[in-house]
């Protein structure tokens, strides 16, 4: 297409891949751990951006899909010794199906009602898992260490998890970009702006929204499967952590809602800041308060987020930064 003047997507993907390769090349496991987390947050934030940024539905409890993916994959690996990659895909499909099933009713709700419903679903799922003994109940599940043997040992499994997470992040970003530049994306943005108008020009909003919700559920499920595979332990608390869910929203807003690069910038920035605050003796204790202050300032004064503000300030950049 003509308006793809700037090779934004390839550039972005190459950049992410290059950063992801640093810990491998320099053989730095702790950088690998940090980046694993960042890549995971990029995945979560970019996925949320599809339903929240493009479509305008604030999915507050979005982490529920991360948890569902993690649980199903973990259970498959532990009980049937299914290979991790297979288990991850096998967990993302039911997660997407669940998204379709709950999406059909709850996407009829608007605004705050939708946000609350997603919180309710996440909490319902968390308390259900807390009681669901086949998945370990409140204690969750814990790998027998021999599970890692088929990947060549625990260390190799950690690398496999890292590569997989990088691949998931790249796929999420690419998907996010493709959607944003597609007709489907345009229909989502029309829905975000005015659902009635969207319907009058020929868009089936219910269908488009459910599609967006399903896509935005798929990648977090993969990320959950990978995250808990590496952890070797899954519990209801970390799997359905509402705070993590809200933090992902914060990253989207910080970076620039509705842009492709925003969630990436936001996730990296947020995680870097937290790492800095936690290890800094002066600020360690005030970590949460500072995060809160920063969020407030962003919400009040930099509504469009970093990437969004850049685009607004320098319209010429629009062709280069999506």
């Amino acid at each position: 297409m003509r308006d793809l003047r700037a090779p934004f997507l390839p550039a972005l993907l190459v950049f992410i891949a290059a950063v992801a390769a640093i810990p491998i090349v320099s053989n730095n496991p702790s950088l690998r751990e940090e980046l694993f987390l960042v890549l995971m947050l990029v995945t979560l934030a970019s996925s949320i951006n599809i339903i929240m940024g493009y479509t305008g539905y604030v999915s507050f409890g979005h982490i529920v899909f991360f948890g569902i993916g993690g649980y199903i994959a973990f259970w498959l690996m532990q009980t049937f010794n299914v290979h991790f990659l297979l288990a991850a895909i096998a967990s993302a499909i039911p997660a997407a199906l669940i998204a379709a099933l709950i999406g059909i009713p709850i996407l009829r709700l608007r605004g705050a009602y939708f946000a609350l419903a997603t919180v309710g679903i996440n909490e319902a799922m968390k308390s259900f898992m807390t009681n669901f003994e086949p998945f370990g109940g409140a204690i969750g599940m814990f790998f027998s260490f021999s599970i890692y043997l088929q990947y060549g040992g625990a260390r190799e499994a950690a690398f496999l998890a890292y590569y997989t997470m990088a691949a998931i992040a790249l796929a999420t970003v690419a998907t996010s970009y493709v959607i944003r530049r597609s007709k489907f994306g345009l229909s989502l943005m029309a829905i975000r702006e005015d659902q009635d108008v969207a319907m009058l020009v020929g868009i089936d909003p219910a269908r488009a929204k459910v599609m967006a919700y399903v896509i935005s559920a798929f990648f977090p499920a993969l990320a959950g499967a990978t995250f808990f595979f590496k952890n070797g332990i899954i519990e209801p608390g970390p799997a359905f952590d509402l705070l993590r869910s809200i933090e992902s929203l914060v990253m989207v807003v910080l970076g620039g809602i509705g842009t492709v690069a925003g969630p990436i910038v936001g996730a990296a920035l947020y995680e870097w800041l937290r790492g800095f605050l936690i290890t800094n003796p002066t600020f360690a204790n005030f970590q949460l308060a500072i995060a809160g202050l920063l969020l407030l300032l962003t919400v009040l004064f930099v509504t469009a987020g970093l990437v969004g503000s850049l685009r607004n300030r320098f319209p010429r950049l629009r062709a280069y930064i999506q």
């Binding site: 702790s30 807390t130 027998s144 021999s146 040992g153 625990a154 499994a157 950690a158 952890n231 332990i233």
Partner: protein, 398 residues
């Protein structure tokens, strides 16, 4: 004052117990270095994470204090002296893990690879210990777990994880024995426990054990970590009118549970709760408090607790292993740890060598204390089980 009578009958078990047992190792007691050799002083960096924020923050702090206390004591006597003349000065390096498993894993990776710490201790709480164990195993490192009593963790075929706490399965089984010895007519028992790794593994062993002893488990319920309202459980217990109540979890919930049991005047003849009652702050529930053994306060200059003792003991185990190995070579330390059979102020320490359960604590037994009214009319904790360590016979409500 009615409360006192009730709590006089509350049995509790606790890990930190009297140095009545012989063969105690204390930091100052070790002088195995040969005087002729030249001494080389090296730092021994001990890495771990502490939950300075999040759900585990209070108890984790106690464990950190325990570790720090051990470090201070060792420093005071001039370090750990090895046979080859090396003197190791322990230093701690720790980060805040926010009580989150993913932070634990990132930070243990950092401790191992960036900070290049010499030795690792565990975070506090079974869940975080598991997460850390995965990383130390991935990196082929040794870790002594100070705060993780869950059985399952230690049954995964780990190679370099060693458990100081007695595994959870042991915690309440003894209480059932004691109870039945005191009164064989006890028939109905209610089990109400916290739903965390530790308490669940306790109950997973205690529940079938109770049934095997012919007891009738009339209530079996779990409560979420952080529960503050136990009335729903207590109403159920009251309706089932059991002879005994066992369970609990950690300090805070156990204290609250006990307090609310008292408020509702539950008529059980025997109550055994995990961890909570020996704590000095048990005073929140009435006059029962001021009687914690002065001995610990005097000896360690800090409020003792189950968790801080765990931290201190983990330090001692490491120290002993270093001395036995005579070097900081991981393979030698591991061999020394495998062989350890130690009696600490804390109890006996010995690790399983079985491939599947390697590193699991096999020797440490639980000790039970009871609040009893002394001849002066005041309440004090007495060790009532096991019988060879008992300071007073257990009493049961008539």
């Amino acid at each position: 004052m009615r409360g006192i009578r009730f709590f006089g009958l509350t049995l509790a078990l606790v890990g930190l117990v009297a140095s009545a047992c012989g063969g105690t190792t204390t930091p100052g007691a070790t002088t195995s270095a040969a005087p002729s050799q030249t001494t080389v002083t090296k730092d021994l960096i001990i890495g771990f994470t502490a939950s300075q924020t999040g759900a585990q923050n209070v108890t984790s702090k106690r464990q950190t204090d325990g570790i720090q206390l051990w470090v201070d004591d060792v420093t005071k006597v001039g370090g750990i002296k090895l046979k080859d003349g090396t003197v190791l000065m322990p230093k701690v390096k720790f980060y805040d893990d926010e009580s989150k498993t993913d932070r634990v894993q990132a930070l243990y990776t950092k401790l191992i690879n960036d900070d290049k710490v010499d030795f690792l201790l565990s975070p506090y709480s079974s869940g975080l210990v598991k997460a850390a164990a995965v990383v130390t195993e991935q990196n082929g490192r040794l870790m002594i777990t100070a705060g993780g009593a869950d059985d399952v963790t230690m049954e995964q075929g780990f190679k370099g994880v060693y458990q100081v706490y007695a595994p959870g399965s042991k915690y309440l089984v003894g209480a059932i024995d004691l109870m039945l010895k005191l009164d064989p007519t006890i028939k109905k028992v209610a089990i109400v426990n916290e739903k965390d790794s530790f308490s669940a593994s306790v109950v997973a062993a205690a529940n079938p054990y109770a049934k095997s002893k012919g007891l009738d488990v009339v209530v079996a319920e779990g409560y979420d970590t952080g529960t503050t309202d136990f009335n729903p459980f207590i109403n159920k217990i009251q309706a089932a009118s059991p002879d005994a109540i066992i369970g609990g979890g950690h300090f805070e919930d156990g204290t609250t549970f006990a307090k609310q049991l008292f408020e509702k005047r539950v008529n059980a003849r025997f109550v055994a709760l995990l961890v909570a009652p020996p704590e000095p702050t048990f005073k929140d529930i009435g006059d029962a408090a001021q009687f914690i053994t002065d001995r610990y306060v005097a000896k360690y200059n800090s409020q003792p607790s189950y968790q801080s003792s765990g931290g201190y003991a983990a330090g001692l185990v490491l120290q002993k292993a270093l001395e036995d190995a005579g070097s900081t070579d991981p393979a030698k330390i591991q061999a020394a740890l495998d062989k350890i059979d130690l009696m600490l102020f804390y109890g006996r320490v010995k690790f399983s060598l079985d491939a599947k359960t390697h590193g699991k604590q096999v020797a440490h037994d639980m000790v039970y204390v009871q609040w009893q009214k002394g001849s002066d009319g005041k309440l004090a904790t007495q060790i009532v089980w096991p019988s060879d360590a008992a300071t007073a016979p257990a009493q049961l409500r008539k």
